[in-house]
């Protein structure tokens, strides 16, 4: 019985990041995006330094969305956050977040972080982004420990041989 439940959860999770998020305004369909597209652009907007250091953070989100230790509630919140962020983008500029110019995206971020859900959502996105950038390189981010070097951080020994997934 326990095993069955596990399977079901894994199944539910699989498509989370790349599945479509439908953006509605009242009753009409305004646009479609996926969490990974939006979150990837957010990473660039929130901390461009990661890319300057040669660190890719967005693919770590696949680990986040399939991690059995991250609750469904947290994952659903991230996905809803993507939807709400895009709906604000649509309201403000009539285009989805990823299609806006950089200054427009900054305006959207500035606006949503003043709202409770937006503050929590952007905080969560940053939290996982920094896990990718500053966690052990075994998780696929923090390329050649560039994040650690940037902060003069030595890491702890021994290092993990494999990621805890």
């Amino acid at each position: 019985m326990i095993v069955n439940l596990r399977f079901r959860r894994t199944f539910l999770k699989a498509g989370f990041l790349s599945s479509a998020v439908f953006l509605m305004d009242g009753c009409s369909l305004f646009g479609i995006t996926t969490p990974i597209d939006t979150i990837s652009v957010m990473h660039k907007d929130l901390f461009p330094e990661a890319r300057h250091l040669g660190i890719t953070t967005n693919s770590y989100m696949y680990i986040v969305f399939s991690h059995p230790r991250i609750s469904e509630k947290d994952k659903i919140f991230l996905k809803n956050g993507v939807k709400w962020l895009n709906e604000e983008a649509l309201k403000m500029y009539k285009r989805t977040y990823t299609k806006l110019s950089s200054p427009q995206r900054q305006k959207v971020l500035e606006y949503v972080t003043q709202i409770e859900w937006g503050d929590s959502f952007v905080y969560d996105v940053m939290n996982y982004m920094f896990e990718a950038m500053l966690g052990d390189p075994v998780y696929g981010g923090n390329n050649h420990e560039a994040g650690w070097k940037w902060l003069n951080f030595q890491g702890g020994q021994p290092r993990p041989k494999k990621a805890f997934l």
Binding site: I2, S71, L134, G135, D136, F153
Partner: protein
């Protein structure tokens, strides 16, 4: 049939296993977690501290938490939905693998709080049925067998000791520690080097500390940390069965007859033994006894007194911090400050006992330590500006770089008594079950206002050191929030069988062969973290069991 069956392999269980197995008895330990050795542990911040790899996932095992107000009303939290996590470490050796090893003994007055300081309204303070002198030889034994390093300095709160010094010299300290010593001298504060359950050199068949920089919350890869696993279980041949979640103890009217456990696949097993020792950590030990009710003990095993689960306590107090900034330091001092790995290791016990406005108070201990090195956590603490707005982009980049490379936070932790009250106790939820199908524990929480008063007093004294040190951003937070890892009570020991669950040897009054050897026995907790006392008391119980088994031969 085994001679002894121990449930839970942490600080409470491991001394019993070590002593009895080494005395030639047939010992089995049932542990719900997995086994690890030194070579399995690493410093993966994500896995260890953010994905909680050593504790059960909350969607499978959780607690229900009722937070009480003074008027008796409470707010109910579901551990899974709220993320309020009371698990500390499910692995062979329990949370002792993950502790930081700040080790202090209780002091003689901790054993007679009621007689010395009097009653406090709304608190169930009682004296212990044993004295400091009864436990002292076992504190001493822990120093030698588990390994405690440190340096004895003369101070007015020093408790009596049978050995002059610690068996292992002090651990190395960071260059900034000497600034602390100067500041304390100027303030006329007596400071002490913090004793640690960490070997400062190779000894006892274990490696000394290599100052890994990631101690608390992380398993020790050298064996220097005095976990029940490294120090005791790996040094005896007790049989350890892992993946064994004990859900029920079966009994007749006099004895426990079997321990039943489930594996993670839901397969049921049972074990028979002459003596059963429960050490699943305070909350879970009470839960197991409550869940083991039967026709002889309809209110929970060993609960004829009705005291089972009652008077749960934690370490009261809180934390404070201040920041050293490069701008105020010479280049040499900056280098000293940023030395990583070495410990700060200073404590204040000057106000373990104090007078304020003519009234005598039981105070507590303050440990000083650098902010934990966990990088992601340190970064996430910087993402808000002073107005509470999220930062990102260049503003965040500049702030992070400056804060993390040119400043360092010194913190302090206050430990004072969490007074036992009627509103702080363990129950079981009649409806909610865990993944094994077993009723989950209910943690009822209440912090007595007196705890906050004492905590405030100690924090204000401690802040003065940070001020003297020239720290910036000094703040502290004393609260009634319970530290889940510093928990005790629920199965009080005492002389009177109508008012306590255990006798003075931590054997259940009601049953001939059931002992509880984790911190559940403590009627009051003292003003220090508990583990040294748990170890010492467990060695004491082991001696009692040894005699009892020899009589049975």
């Amino acid at each position: 049939m085994y001679d002894v069956c121990i449930i839970g392999s942490g600080a409470g269980g491991s001394p019993i296993a070590y002593e009895l197995a080494n005395a030639g008895f047939n010992v089995v330990v049932l542990e719900k977690g997995e086994n690890y050795t030194e070579s399995d542990f690493n410093k993966d911040e994500i896995g260890v501290t953010r994905r909680d790899m050593f504790t059960p996932p909350l969607n499978e095992q959780k607690h229900i938490i009722n937070e009480y107000k003074a008027d008796g009303t409470f707010t109910r939290y579901d551990g899974e939905k709220s993320g309020w996590n009371f698990w500390n470490g499910s692995l062979v050796g329990g949370s002792s693998n993950l502790m930081s090893g700040y080790f202090h003994r209780l002091k003689p007055n901790d054993f007679k709080l009621k007689s010395v300081y009097g009653e406090i309204k709304g608190a169930n303070v009682v004296d212990w049925p044993i004295s400091y002198e009864d436990l002292e030889p076992y504190y001493d034994k822990v120093e030698k067998v588990v390994g405690v390093s440190g340096k004895i300095v003369k101070h007015k709160q020093q408790e009596p000791r049978s050995s002059a010094g610690f068996p292992y010299p002090e651990l190395q300290t960071n260059g900034a520690t000497k600034w602390f010593d100067v500041a304390c001298k100027e303030l006329n504060y007596e400071f002490i080097p913090t004793p640690r359950a960490i070997l400062s050199q190779n000894a006892l068949g274990r490696n000394g500390c290599y100052y890994s920089n990631f101690c608390g919350s992380y398993g020790c890869a050298s064996g220097a940390k005095g976990s029940g696993r490294a120090a005791l279980l790996q040094k005896c041949n007790a049989k350890i069965i892992t993946d064994a979640f004990v859900y029920k103890l079966e009994s007749n009217d006099k004895k426990v007859t079997r321990a039943y456990y489930y594996t993670s696949h839901g397969i049921r097993h049972s074990v028979q033994a002459k003596i059963f020792v429960l050490s699943a950590q305070a909350i879970e030990s009470s839960r197991l006894l409550l869940n083991s009710k039967n026709k002889y003990f309809p209110n929970g095993l060993a609960n004829s007194s009705g005291e089972l689960g009652k008077n749960l306590i934690f370490s009261a107090g809180g934390t404070g911090s201040g920041r050293f900034v490069f701008e105020k330091l010479t280049q040499k001092q900056q280098e000293e400050l940023m030395q990583v790995g070495l410990f700060f290791n200073r404590s204040l016990q000057e106000w373990y006992d104090y007078k304020d406005k003519g009234k005598k108070y039981k105070g507590g201990t303050v440990d000083f330590l650098f902010e934990h090195q966990n990088l992601i956590s340190r970064v996430m603490r910087e993402v808000y500006n002073e107005n509470g707005n999220l930062l990102w982009g260049d503003a965040l980049k500049d702030k992070l770089h400056k804060r993390l490379t040119t400043s360092r936070m010194l913190t302090f932790e206050v430990f004072n008594d969490w007074l036992p009250t009627d509103k702080c106790f363990v129950g079981v939820d009649e409806k909610v079950k865990d993944k094994y199908g077993v009723h989950v524990g209910v943690i009822n929480l209440y912090g007595h206002p007196h705890d906050l008063e004492v905590g405030e007093y100690l924090a204000k004294k401690s802040v003065k050191v940070l001020e003297k040190l020239g720290c910036e951003e000094i703040s502290y937070d004393i609260s009634a929030a319970p530290p889940p890892n510093l928990v005790a009570g629920g199965c009080r020991f005492g002389i009177d069988a109508t008012k306590s669950v255990l006798d003075k040897n931590c054997k259940a009054h009601d049953l001939d062969n059931l002992y509880v050897s984790d911190a559940s026995f403590m009627p009051t907790g003292g003003s220090v973290p508990y583990t040294w006392t748990i170890y010492a008391n467990s060695f004491r119980i082991a001696d009692v069991i040894k005699i009892s088994l020899k009589e049975k031969l």
